[in-house]
């Protein structure tokens, strides 16, 4: 009897010891993997999300920049991490492209979406003393290969945004070659130094350089003008051909996340996106807030995957 009691007591104790631990996700620090370099837009939004999520979850969140391979390294690491909720990641537009261009088999199905928090259209920039969009396109038509463009990696959203501008105006994308770079900062530096002629990136990434009078936006590849730059025409307004390319960012976890952890994270993210601090931050940096919950984010990525696949095939980048 005594033995039984002791056993029962021990069992009860161990259950007591385990139960709160399991219920109280998270009980230690969480890593947030950012697949892009420190200082870019993804890094900036990732860091603000991390600090706000930290308050919601009550555990420190370490932002880890896992760069390289046009974001593939970081994205791969997020998808391969243990699905215990202690490794999260910021996943970005490029995820919709890897499998189309054949650089990696990764796609949205490798992740457990938590929340989409941002979507911004690509815009075309030249140096302040650079040509108008019409002159730029005629130069490309007249001297194929003379105009070099950059913005991010090969086959990324910035690249696609630029190729789309060319294709919708019946120019071969090869006539204005793409110079891959490690991100918007590096490309803008190349543009300002006069090494290349065009950068496509989002408004917020280029804003300090626009303010400094180094570069100017020509058109924005969006369905309507953006609040951050109301006097910049859309591609359709300027050139008569509709073309929209949005870069997006969201929080995701590796596939196979326990349901309770997913719920906890989704609720926390909903609060983060609603918070005044997040709204202020996004407004200050001119990032567009586009919040969708886990289910909404999943269907968003599914749609993005299909439409980007079509676009990539149209410009000859899909394998």
């Amino acid at each position: 009897m005594t033995l039984l009691k002791t056993l029962a007591g021990a069992l009860a104790l161990s259950v007591l010891a385990i139960a709160p631990a399991a219920a109280q996700y998270p009980d230690h620090a969480i890593n947030l993997i950012v697949p892009w370099a420190a200082g870019g837009g993804t890094d900036a939004t990732g860091r603000i999300i991390a600090t706000l999520l930290e308050k919601e979850l009550g555990q420190p969140i370490n932002v880890i920049n896992r760069t390289g391979g046009g974001g593939i390294v970081g994205h791969t690491e997020i998808s391969y991490s243990p699905p215990d909720g202690y490794t999260l990641g910021v996943i970005t537009t490029e995820l919709s492209m890897y499998h189309w261009t054949g650089v990696s088999p990764l796609n949205y199905e490798n992740y457990e979406p938590i929340a989409l928090f941002n979507a911004d259209p690509e815009a075309v920039f030249v140096r302040t003393d650079g040509p108008s969009i019409e002159d730029l396109l005629s130069e490309i038509r007249a001297n194929p290969g003379s105009v070099k463009a950059s913005g991010a990696n090969l086959g990324g959203m910035a690249h696609l945004g630029w190729a789309g501008v060319l294709v919708t105006n019946e120019i071969d994308p090869a006539a204005a070659p793409w110079v891959p770079s490690e991100g918007a900062s590096a490309s803008l530096q190349l543009l300002a130094s006069g090494a290349i002629n065009v950068v496509t990136t989002t408004m917020p990434d280029a804003r300090p350089m626009v303010d400094a009078g180094e570069v100017k936006p020509l058109i924005v590849a969006a369905n309507e003008r953006v609040a951050a730059a109301p006097d910049v025409p859309t591609a359709e307004e300027a050139l008569g051909n509709k073309w929209a390319a949005y870069a997006w960012r969201g929080i995701a976890a590796p596939k196979g996340l326990p349901e309770d952890v997913k719920t906890r994270l989704s609720e926390a993210m909903a609060k983060v996106v609603e918070s005044q601090e997040f709204k202020d931050f996004m407004a200050q940096r001119n990032f567009g807030i586009d919040y969708r919950d886990a289910a909404g984010f999943a269907s968003f990525m599914q749609e993005a995957d299909a439409s980007i696949g079509q676009a990539l095939q149209a410009v000859g980048l899909a394998k």
């Binding site: 420190a38 900036a44 932002v63 391979g69 990696n153 090494a195």
Partner: protein
């Protein structure tokens, strides 16, 4: 100068000064722990800054970073674990000084040299920041490529074993840098399908392993007794004399540091290597370098801190941060409504000046804090070597684990330690390997980018004025080195192999 007066008011109040002091002490501790980096210290501080006013918040980040980077030289000097890629350039000299009983002097030169370099950088930037930022923006991949190539040629100079062994070590470093994904097209190289290898090999475990673990292996075999330390009362004794003797190096290091530091992503890491090599090249006694000679230490230490202030310029003026620390700082600036960009200088110049003044204060604070650190450093030498080795190994493991929070870093660190032990037994220097790992991706990315821009035409590297000057300079340096090697080979044939050292005259 109204803005400057306003800035003084923003900085010289109790709250800001206390914040600067506390952040500096925090930075000193984190930086002095081997394997923990300035980036880590800064990241840990960010959540706390949310509850602060703008200027104290940014002051905390600055003073913590500056102190952590300088404190990173402490484990380098005492345990041969360099804290930053830059400090790997001169760790050999500072460690040998400490082993010769002059740890105080080594730390003193590091600290006082850094302070002077930092203050010089402050004055320099106060007047040239906008111009410098503008000039840095004129640098494209062509100029960066030549700078990185110039940095690579430092390998031959910092290697104590001669040109050929230096080049071999550099190639090993460049090879390690190749592992992982191609930075531009994401093609996997030498990864063997291994996910950890796909992320590349981080230089921190390599650096810790190559310098610290190999030393533990050597010292463990020798069972060396404690090293008697001189001048326990005033650990900094002799520092000022050394700095005065090498004042030319001090000034030159500060100037080069201020200029190179302003180049986003390149400057900070590269500058100290370049000035260390320059010091050796122009020294009257280059054979002493790498064996506990203060000359290179003075110049590279000054460069390090001058570059640190300068690295903030492109981040503040154009929102282009060069490294993780400035990226975090840009985030804090934005959060506090001090948007980086030209408006920071025009609309709110007092904020800009306040940031610069904080740099100056943080630098001055290094003196007393560094003195205390140097004074306590002797305890390290009173610990029996066997126990110290165990502690060093523990720090090595923790440090390399913390990079990616995975055991992979620990295995890399241990393997690097064994490799370095074998190489050093064959008189092959370690520093060029680290240089190769740091500069490999820079050389490669900028070469590929430039080739795409120039449509594969190699002459493109001379197509821009600044790039052309850098290019010709680099090729000249290489040409002279190759010419000297050939001449020496011929000469050695005549004299039956008596010349083994690199000739000291250029």
């Amino acid at each position: 100068m109204d803005a400057f007066a306003l800035a003084l008011g923003l900085v010289f109040n109790f709250e800001t000064l206390l914040t600067i002091f506390l952040a500096a002490v925090f930075g000193l501790f984190v930086g002095a722990i081997p394997g923990l980096t300035a980036t880590m210290a800064t990241a840990l501080l960010v959540p706390i800054t949310f509850y602060m006013a703008p200027i104290p918040a940014i002051a905390a980040i600055i003073s913590c970073t500056a102190m952590a980077i300088t404190a990173g030289d402490l484990p380098g000097t005492l345990l041969r674990i360099p804290g930053t890629p830059a400090s790997a350039a001169y760790v050999e000299d500072s460690y040998r000084l400490a082993q010769n009983g002059k740890a105080g002097l080594a730390i003193g030169i590091g600290v006082v040299g850094s302070v002077l370099g930092g203050l010089f950088g402050f004055l320099f930037l106060l007047f040239t920041a906008p111009m410098l930022a503008k000039a840095a923006l004129g640098f494209s991949s062509f100029e960066y490529f030549w700078l990185a190539a110039l940095g690579l040629s430092c390998a031959a100079l910092i290697s104590s074993g001669g040109l050929v062994k230096g080049a071999l070590a550099l190639l090993l470093g460049l090879f390690i840098a190749q592992v992982g994904m191609d930075p531009l097209t994401a093609t996997p190289r030498f990864t063997f399908g291994n996910l950890e290898l796909m992320g590349g090999i981080s230089f921190i475990p390599i650096m810790i392993g190559m310098f610290a673990v190999s030393e533990v292996m050597r010292a463990g075999r020798r069972a060396m007794a404690e090293v008697p330390q001189m001048n326990l009362k005033n650990p900094f004794e002799g520092t000022l004399a050394a700095l005065w003797k090498y004042r030319k190096n001090q000034v030159r290091g500060s100037i080069i540091g201020s200029l190179l530091g302003a180049l986003p992503g390149v400057g900070g890491d590269l500058a100290a290597w370049i000035t260390y090599s320059l010091a050796k090249r122009t020294s009257k006694e280059p054979e002493k370098f790498g064996k506990g000679h203060p000359e290179g230490l003075v110049e590279a230490g000054a460069t390090n801190n001058a570059a640190l202030s300068a690295s903030w310029i492109p981040a503040m003026v154009f929102g282009i941060p060069g490294d993780a620390v400035t990226a975090i700082a840009v985030g804090v600036l934005v959060m506090k409504g001090l948007d980086p960009g030209p408006t920071l200088m025009t609309l709110h110049p007092q904020n800009f000046y306040a940031v610069m003044i904080v740099f100056a204060i943080a630098n001055i604070l290094m003196l007393p804090l560094g003195w205390v650190a140097a004074k306590s450093a002797r305890w390290i030498f009173e610990v029996p070597r066997a126990l110290l080795n165990a502690a060093i190994l523990l720090f090595c493991i923790v440090g390399s684990y913390s990079i990616n929070n995975s055991m992979f870093g620990v295995w890399v660190m241990l393997a690097a330690g064994v490799v370095a032990y074998v190489l050093e037994a064959r008189m092959i220097a370690i520093a060029p390997i680290i240089l190769g790992i740091v500069l490999g991706p820079l050389v490669e990315t900028n070469f590929t980018t430039s080739m795409m821009i120039a449509d594969g035409n190699l002459l493109g590297f001379f197509g821009r004025p600044v790039a052309a000057v850098f290019g010709v300079l680099t090729l000249l340096i290489w040409g002279v080195a190759i010419f000297q090697t050939i001449r020496r080979l011929i000469w050695r044939d005549d004299t039956h192999g008596t010349a083994r050292q690199l000739p000291s005259q250029p």
